[in-house]
C-alpha cells in the first residue's frame, strides 16, 4: 500500500512535539543548569509556544508556507543558538515539502533537508556534544529506512537513533557553545540540545501513530 501523509499529519506530529517539550521543559532546564546557563528549558518552551501560535494562526496556508512560518517564528523567539538552529530545521523542511501527499521517501527527504540546513549553520558533528548528536543519527536512520519501511516505522527508527545519540552525549566534552568552557564538568549529563531533539523526534513518531488511530 502506498501510504501518504499531508498537511494534517504533519501538523499533528509538530503539535505532538510542542506537547512533549511543554511536559519536559523542567528536565531540559535541569540538564542545562548542569552543563550550560540553565535557560534551555525556557528557550524551548518559548520556541514551542511560537510554533503553536503559528499553527493556530496559519489559516489555510500550504504545508510549505506553514513550515516556513514556523521556522521564522522559532528564529524570532530569541533563543540564543537554539532559535536559529531549530528555526533552520523547519525552514529546511519547508524547502523540501513541495508535494501534496508525501510518501515514505518524501517524508525522509523532508526531514533530511531540515537536518542538513541545521548542520550547515551549526557546523558541529557527532561527538561535539550539540543537538547534531541527535539530529545526524536520525538523518542516517531516515536514509536507511526511507526505502521500503512504513512512515511510522521509519520515524520510530529516527527517534531511536536520536535517543541513542542524545544518551551518548553524557560521555562527551563540548566543542561548541557555552558548555565548551565547562570542559570535563559536563560529563555524566546529557546535552540539553540533543535531548530536546530526541524528544521532538519521539513526539513526531507518537504524533503520527496517534493521528493514524483517528
Amino acid at each position: 500500500m502506498s501510504e501518504l501523509i499531508g498537511r494534517d499529519e504533519i501538523i499533528g506530529m509538530i503539535l505532538s512535539a510542542v506537547e512533549k517539550i511543554k511536559a519536559n521543559h523542567e528536565v531540559l532546564t535541569q540538564l542545562d543548569s548542569a552543563a550550560g546557563d540553565g535557560d534551555h528549558g525556557i528557550t524551548m518552551l518559548r520556541s514551542m509556544q511560537a510554533v503553536e501560535d503559528t499553527i493556530n494562526d496559519s489559516g489555510g496556508a500550504s504545508k510549505k508556507d506553514l513550515l516556513h512560518s514556523i521556522g521564522w517564528a522559532v528564529m524570532s523567539a530569541d533563543g540564543g543558538s537554539t532559535g536559529p538552529l531549530l528555526g533552520s530545521f523547519f525552514v529546511g523542511m519547508s524547502e523540501a515539502a513541495v508535494k501534496d501527499g508525501l510518501d515514505c521517501r518524501a517524508v525522509a527527504a523532508m526531514f533530511e533537508a531540515g537536518i542538513s540546513k541545521v548542520h550547515k549553520q551549526s557546523r558541529a558533528e557527532v561527538g561535539d556534544r550539540t543537538m547534531m548528536d541527535a539530529m545526524l543519527p536520525a538523518r542516517d536512520a531516515l536514509k536507511v529506512s526511507g526505502n521500503g519501511a512504513s512512515i511510522t516505522e521509519m520515524l520510530k527508527a529516527a527517534a531511536d537513533a536520536a535517543a541513542d545519540g542524545a544518551e551518548a552525549t553524557k560521555n562527551m566534552v563540548a566543542k561548541f557553545g557555552r558548555a565548551k568552557n565547562l570542559g570535563q564538568r559536563v560529563l555524566g549529563h546529557a546535552d540539553p540540545g540533543a535531548t530536546s531533539i530526541s524528544l521532538i523526534f519521539q513526539a513526531f513518531y507518537e504524533g503520527l501513530c496517534h493521528k493514524n488511530q483517528d
Binding site: D37, I42, D78, G80, Q121, S122
Partner: protein, 333 residues
C-alpha cells in the same frame, strides 16, 4: 534557591528593562519594533552605520552605547540570549544605505549564528555590510584559535572607535580597516569572585568557594582556567596584566588603553586599587597608559569580579577615541 532581585515577571525582563531605558534616556535613544535600540537623532544617511546585536542582562551593554559617535542600532535579545536572525535582518534593512553598515558581533555561539544568517540574507537583498567579530578573551590562551575566544568588554571601545570613524565620514572599507586594526590589537581577561543569579531562571551561573576566585571566567559563568585562592589587588593585577601584555605583544615604549570593567558587584574602590597595581607593573616594563577607564560597561548581574582590557594604541586610534560622542553610558565632549 531564593533570588533577591527587584523584578516582576521573570519572562518579561527584557521588555520591561527597555521600557525603563527609553524613559531614562529618551533624549539620546529610542526603542523601535520592540527590540531595536536606535539613536534619537539618526545619523546622516551618507555616513556608514554601526550596528551590533546581543543578549540583555549585561546593562549598560550593549544598548547603553547607542548614540552620536557610537552605535546606530543595537539589536537586543533576551536575557543572555542572542536575538533571532529575523530581528537582526530588520535592523540591517533599517540601516540600508549606500555608505554601508559596519556590523559588530561578539564571539558567542548564538550571536554568531544569528549574525551570520542575518548577514547572508541581507547581502542577498543587496545591503552593503561588513562584519567585525570581536574575540579578545585570552582565557583559552592568546594563541587559541579565534573561534575559541569570546567577545568580552572590548566591543565597547570598538563601538567608540568605529563610531568616530563612521561619524567622520570615512568609507565602509576605511571604517572596517580601523575597526579590525583595533580588534586585532586588543585583549581581555576576566576574573570572578562570586556568582550571579540568572534573572529568568533563578539559578546560580556557577559556584566558587568563599576563599576562591577564578581567572578567565566568561560573562555567562563560562568556566575559566579553574578556581584559585583569592589574591590581593596587586597580585591579581600583576597576574592579569602580565598575561594581557603578552597577548597583545606590548613592548617598551608602547601605549595602551586600559579598561577595568566591573562585573556588577565589585566596587569602584577595588577597581581603582587594581588599576594602581596595573600601572606599577606597566611602569616597570616601560609601557605607558595612554588612556584608561574604570566603571561598569558590560556587567553580569550581581557577579563580583571584573574584566581587565588592554589595547595597543596608535595616533589615529587615540584621536578617534578622543572624538566627541553622546550615548547614555559613554559621553565625550
Amino acid at each position: 534557591m531564593a533570588m533577591k532581585k527587584f523584578i516582576n515577571d521573570p519572562q518579561n525582563l527584557t521588555a520591561e528593562l527597555l521600557e525603563g531605558f527609553a524613559i531614562g534616556y529618551g533624549d539620546k535613544i529610542a526603542v523601535e519594533s520592540d527590540k531595536l535600540v536606535v539613536r534619537a537623532k539618526p545619523k546622516e544617511a551618507g555616513k556608514v552605520a554601526v550596528v551590533t546585536l546581543g543578549g540583555a542582562g549585561h546593562e549598560p551593554a550593549l544598548s547603553g552605547f547607542v548614540g552620536e559617535g557610537m552605535l546606530d542600532v543595537s539589536v537586543v535579545g533576551d536575557i543572555f540570549a542572542a536575538p533571532g536572525p529575523p530581528k537582526v535582518l530588520e535592523a540591517l534593512r533599517l540601516m540600508k544605505r549606500e555608505a554601508g553598515i559596519l556590523f559588530i558581533v561578539l564571539n558567542h555561539a548564538g550571536d554568531v549564528l544569528s549574525g551570520n544568517m542575518a548577514m547572508e540574507m541581507a547581502v542577498k537583498e543587496g545591503i552593503k555590510v561588513r562584519m567585525v567579530l570581536t574575540h579578545e578573551d585570552i582565557a583559552p590562551g592568546a594563541d587559541a584559535p579565534a573561534e575559541d575566544r569570546r567577545g568580552l568588554v572590548g566591543c565597547v571601545p570598538l563601538y567608540k572607535i568605529a563610531g568616530a570613524a563612521a561619524e567622520a565620514g570615512k568609507s565602509l572599507d576605511e571604517v572596517y580597516e580601523i575597526a579590525e586594526r583595533f580588534n586585532n590589537n586588543m585583549a581581555t581577561l576576566a576574573v570572578a569572585m562570586t556568582s550571579a543569579t540568572h534573572p529568568a531562571t533563578g539559578t546560580a551561573l556557577f559556584e566558587l568557594a568563599e576563599d576562591e576566585m577564578e581567572i578567565g571566567m566568561g560573562q555567562h559563568g563560562e568556566a575559566g582556567t579553574g578556581p584559585s585562592k583569592l589574591l590581593s589587588a596587586d597580585e591579581t593585577a600583576k597576574v592579569m596584566i602580565n598575561s594581557l601584555v603578552g597577548a597583545v605583544d606590548a613592548q617598551k615604549g608602547d601605549r595602551l588603553m586600559v579598561i577595568l570593567n566591573g562585573a556588577g558587584a565589585t566596587t569602584l574602590m577595588e577597581l581603582f586599587i587594581v588599576l594602581a597595581g596595573v600601572k606599577k607593573v606597566l611602569d616597570e616594563k616601560g609601557i605607558s597608559i595612554a588612556t584608561a577607564r574604570v566603571g561598569e560597561f558590560l556587567t553580569v548581574q550581581e557577579m563580583a569580579g571584573f574584566q581587565m582590557f588592554v589595547a595597543k594604541m596608535d595616533d589615529e586610534l587615540l584621536d578617534l577615541w578622543g572624538k566627541s560622542c553622546d550615548s547614555p553610558y559613554m559621553t565625550v565632549r
